[in-house]
């Protein structure tokens, strides 16, 4: 049996457990051992998105509109994919500027404007208070239903009860007390609430487990699984309307998806858990998939429960919104009923707590603080304002919850409460343009944001809030049917003649159109002012690593004492001193007294204050104790430019370093080439000296012999002298050829480029070596054409090549029987001159190297007298003239040396 006592004890016990969790997490946070710095807990805390409206309302919506409940979860699932950049940017900006709420965020983006923060706060409170009322209603209603266990009966309308007998009032007061304990437990007004986050994450688990348990019970206990349940539903004729009708209205699906995608980021409680309470950017990565997974899980059993409810309560007056609770009740499942009740309470309390904390921060910082600051002069300078701040917040919490209760009492069962979930979503969706566009477009200005928010808000009130009042009977129904003053075009739900959309889609279309239109038009109307441009840059470039940019944008005189005093007044003495001390330590200073009163310190103090009283108020307070020089637009732009210049410099540096690497690589390659050349040169020098030493050795040896032995025989003396003379000639030939080769290789040789007749040169070369051949007894055979063979070249150099080849041939042929054949052939585009001999030929192994320096063919016994440079020089010459030279040989038939030169081109 579930008695009232058991239910009350279970409820209070559950709240007590929540408090214990929160207390423990707060303690851990104080000890710097945070339990919430965990990606899973972060993702679970985001599931505060699922309120009682999800827990009870999804089934209600499913029973009424079939799968029309789904877009509310598809939207967040889709937008979660963008969190890696969009939410990351919001988190980073908020951390660096210590932003405490969505109102603070928007105010801060547009130059820390009190006006904008106030407007956002008002819209949020108006939009959210009814939503809180809905949660209160859910708790008290489920409690009332539970009291009749196991009889299922719908409670009387709440407003029929006297005020003091209404459980909702006590629920509201209990939650207020609870929220105060959670949200303002600390004496300091710090912006983060680790205990609350831990409790919310826990609640997310409880509501998921409760919903899944009911779903499993309904699907597998009451029925034989999904197929069975769906078959029964189909037979009863309730399945098709749910699925088919739910699919109708594409534009509504689209609108609801967009709406919920925006809401999941713009709802104050979502901003609170996703941005303000975020304890590490890396947690976003898991939330991107874990949060959608949570939404998926909590939606699996919505349709089965809706179907089962309709099957169970045929013909009974049971509200589909209560199926999650009443189904276990009807089947006498006491513990499951209690679990479902606690799940619903988790969903409702989680929302109320976070939303109230978020709203109270906004009310305190963006509505009350500005008023307080106006009367700043009247506040005694020594008053400790941190306690005042806490009192304001606590007051705001109580006020918001009582407003929620009041709205609940007034609206009750009226239409205005039932549909409030989407109405709230539509209200906070108005923040999206100023928020999201402002994160990516520098041009957005304060007036643009104000105009956009105001026009979107007005349209929302006119097309959604007023009609809901009218439907509740608080306003004449004629307003909807005929329009104000019977002006058709102004009918709230068919504005400017737009019909055919449901009210939410209709409102979303007009409000966002006006909102975005006004935002952009007013932003374009005037260029941003200095403070707007500064903040715009900090927000838009948040991901570009500019967190210290804000520091550079302050110039003036300040006193650390004054700043510390200011911080002490809002944060309390101990905490302020502690934080200043930590800041000094970060700057490698031992004491607060050593802190310079520079831009960095002022910036630190301002963000510190911003965490407590909001950025706009913090700016005002810091200005009150410092003398700030107003920076001109030019100066601000310069500072911003500097930052971008630094980026540009670092890019340039990177480029330079790439260039350097490339240059280094090229130098290395060049160096390797040089080393190779150097080695070749060394080899050459070594060969040259060797070639010089050999004749020198002979000359010296024979000279010494001749010098030492005066009695040497005459013929021997002649022979030795002959050797000396020949070796001297060889020496000078070698020196000349080395010089010649060096000249050709270095490109310093003079070349004539004239038309020369190869035939003439060949004949001249043969005739000038005639004596040489005759001495050796060599026969020269000519195979020459009878016409001139004109090439372009250097006559003397060609002669040098021919003489070299002829004398080489003569050297190798045997004496007396030697034969040298000189051949000149005209080929298609070139002339070929070949000199063949009947000498020993060239060994196959020697052929490839025959044109290298100091390579001489032939065995030692018949080593020819030569320098080893003739062929290399010939090769250089021929190649310089555009031809080529090669050797062929068989050791039986001697060697053939051939060079080819291109024919002179015919004059064009």
């Amino acid at each position: 049996m579930l008695t009232t006592t058991i239910v009350v004890i279970a409820s209070l016990g559950y709240l007590g457990l929540l408090f214990a969790i929160a207390y423990w997490a707060d303690r851990r946070a104080d000890q710097n051992r945070s339990v919430i710095s965990n990606a899973t807990i972060y993702a679970l805390s985001l599931a505060v998105y699922c309120t009682a409206w999800t827990f009870y309302g999804s089934v209600g919506r499913a029973a009424a509109t079939g799968i029309g409940f789904l877009p509310i979860y598809i939207g967040p699932t889709l937008i979660a994919a963008l969190w890696g950049t969009l939410l990351l940017k919001m988190v980073r900006v908020s951390k660096s500027q210590r932003i405490t709420s969505i109102a603070d965020f928007i105010a801060s983006r547009y130059g820390k404007s009190h006006l904008l923060g106030g407007l956002v706060t008002i819209i949020a409170v108006l939009g959210i208070v009814p939503y809180i009322a809905l949660q209160l209603k859910a708790i008290s209603r489920s409690f009332t239903i539970l009291l009749t266990y196991p009889e299922v009966s719908m409670p009387n309308p709440a407003d029929s009860l006297p005020l003091l007998q209404d459980t909702t009032l006590y629920v509201a007061l209990l939650l207020a007390a609870f929220t105060i304990l959670f949200g303002t437990r600390h004496l300091d007004a710090s912006e983060r609430h680790e205990g609350m986050v831990a409790a919310i994450a826990f609640e997310s688990i409880v509501k998921l487990v409760a919903f899944l348990s009911v779903g499993i019970f309904v699907t597998y206990q009451l029925h034989d699984g999904f197929t069975d349940l769906f078959d029964k539903a189909e037979n009863a004729g309730i399945l098709n309307p749910l699925i088919i009708d739910g699919m109708k209205g594409y534009e509504n699906w689209f609108a609801l998806t967009l709406l919920s995608a925006l809401a999941v980021m713009m709802l104050p409680r979502q901003f609170q858990v996703a941005v303000v309470e975020n304890s590490g950017e890396q947690h976003l990565r898991r939330a991107v998939w874990l949060f959608p997974l949570y939404l998926f899980l909590i939606n699996i059993f919505v349709i089965p429960i809706a179907l089962a409810g309709q099957l169970t309560f045929v013909g009974e007056n049971v509200d589909a919104d209560t199926f999650v609770l009443t189904l276990p009740m009807a089947h006498h499942q006491g513990s499951l009923t209690l679990l479902a009740f606690l799940g619903g309470m988790s969903a409702a309390t989680g929302m109320v707590i976070v939303e109230t904390i978020a709203l109270s921060t906004m009310v305190c910082n963006d509505l009350v603080m500005p008023l307080l600051l106006k009367r700043w002069k009247q506040i005694p300078p020594d008053a400790d304002l941190s306690k005042l701040l806490l009192r304001i917040r606590r007051g705001a919490i109580i006020l918001i919850l009582l407003l929620g209760f009041l709205y609940f009492r007034l609206a009750g069962e009226a239409y205005a409460l039932v549909s409030i979930g989407l109405i709230s979503f539509s209200a906070v969706a108005q923040f999206a343009p100023a928020m999201i566009i402002g994160l990516y477009w520098r041009g957005g200005t304060r007036s643009g944001a104000l105009a956009g928010l105001l026009s979107g808000f007005v349209i929302w009130v006119y097309t959604l809030l007023l009609p809901s009042f009218a439907k509740s009977g608080w306003l004449p129904a004629g307003l909807l049917e005929q329009g104000p003053f019977a002006i058709e075009l102004l009918k709230p739900q068919a504005l400017f003649g737009l019909t055919g959309l449901n009210e939410i889609t209709h409102c979303l279309f007009w409000s966002l159109s006006f909102n975005i239109g006004a935002y952009i038009l007013f932003s374009l109307w005037r260029t941003p002012r200095v403070d707007e441009a500064t903040q715009a840059s900090l927000f838009v470039d948040a991901l570009k690593n500019q967190q210290f940019l804000g520091v550079g944008l302050w110039r003036g005189t300040a006193e650390v004492k004054e700043l510390l005093h200011l911080a002490e007044r809002f944060l309390g003495n101990e905490r302020a001193r502690h934080l200043f001390q930590a800041f000094a330590k970060r700057r490698k200073l031992t004491d607060i007294k050593q802190l310079p009163a520079d831009a960095e310190t002022v910036y630190f103090a301002e963000t510190l204050l911003a965490g407590a009283i909001g950025s706009a108020s913090a700016r005002v307070m810091v200005s009150s104790v410092t003398t700030e020089e107003t920076l001109g637009m030019d100066e601000v732009l310069n500072i911003l430019d500097e930052a971008s210049q630094i980026r540009a410099y670092s890019k340039a540096l990177e480029r330079k370093s790439h260039q350097l690497e490339k240059a280094t690589r090229e130098l290395k390659e060049a160096n390797e080439r040089l080393q190779e050349l150097d080695r070749l040169k060394d080899d050459f020098m070594s060969s040259v000296t060797h070639e010089l030493r050999t004749p020198l050795a002979s000359i010296r040896a024979f000279s010494e012999i001749l010098n030492d032995d005066p009695d040497i025989a005459l013929n021997q003396r002649r022979r030795f002298l002959g050797i000396i003379v020949n070796e001297t000639k060889r020496l000078s030939r070698l020196v000349n050829q080395v010089l010649d080769l060096a000249k050709i290789e270095s490109g310093r040789a003079d070349w004539n480029a004239e038309d020369v007749d190869l035939l003439e040169i060949v004949e001249e070369a043969i005739s000038s070596t005639e004596q040489l051949f005759a001495d050796h007894g060599t026969r020269v055979i000519r195979a020459l054409p009878d016409h001139a063979c004109i090439v372009t070249g250097d006559r003397d150099r060609l002669m040098q090549v021919l003489l070299n080849l002829l004398s080489n041939a003569n050297k190798f042929v045997p004496e007396q029987t030697g034969e040298v054949t000189v051949c000149l052939i005209s080929k298609q585009d070139r002339y070929e001159v070949s000199v063949s001999d009947n000498g020993p030929g060239i060994a196959a192994g020697e052929l490839p190297n025959i044109f290298e320096k100091f390579r001489q063919a032939g065995s030692a016994s018949n080593k020819p007298i030569g320098t080893g440079l003739g062929l290399p020089i010939s090769k250089k010459i021929v190649e310089h003239l555009g031809g080529n030279i090669w050797a062929e040989s068989t050791t039986e038939n001697g060697a053939i040396f051939t060079f080819a030169l291109p024919k002179k081109k015919k004059a064009a």
């Binding site: 070594s686 000296t689 060797h690 070639e691 030493r693 050999t694 004749p695 020198l696 050795a697 002979s698 000359i699 010296r700 040896a701 024979f702 010494e704 012999i705 030492d708 032995d709 050797i723 070796e727 065995s859 030692a860 016994s861 080593k863």
Partner: protein, 124 residues
Amino acid sequence: MTKTILIVDDEPNIVLSVEYLMKREGYQVMTASDGQVAMEVIADTRPDLLILDVMMPRKNGFEVCREIRADPALSGLPILMLSAKGREAEIKKGISLGADAYITKPFSTHDLVDKVNQLLQSRE
């Protein structure tokens, strides 16, 4: 007993001058024009001293030197390297391969003769 000296060089004029000098000192002289011929001559006649050029076709002086030092039957055969290769590293290489002396071309005839006499006397 007259000592026999083998002169190995591919430059005929060098061979001629060294042969003259050695004969003038009273030694018997044999010649070879490259390393391969030299190895054959050594195997046949066992000279008492080798005057060895380095840069030669077919088998250079370093190889000849290495082969001789690797052959126990030829142990104690003095080798005098007479080479146009005059760099420090080359001289060291020759000595490390087992040459007893290394003289660079162009050479002093007196130094060559003194070195040969000294090497032959120290063997006795």
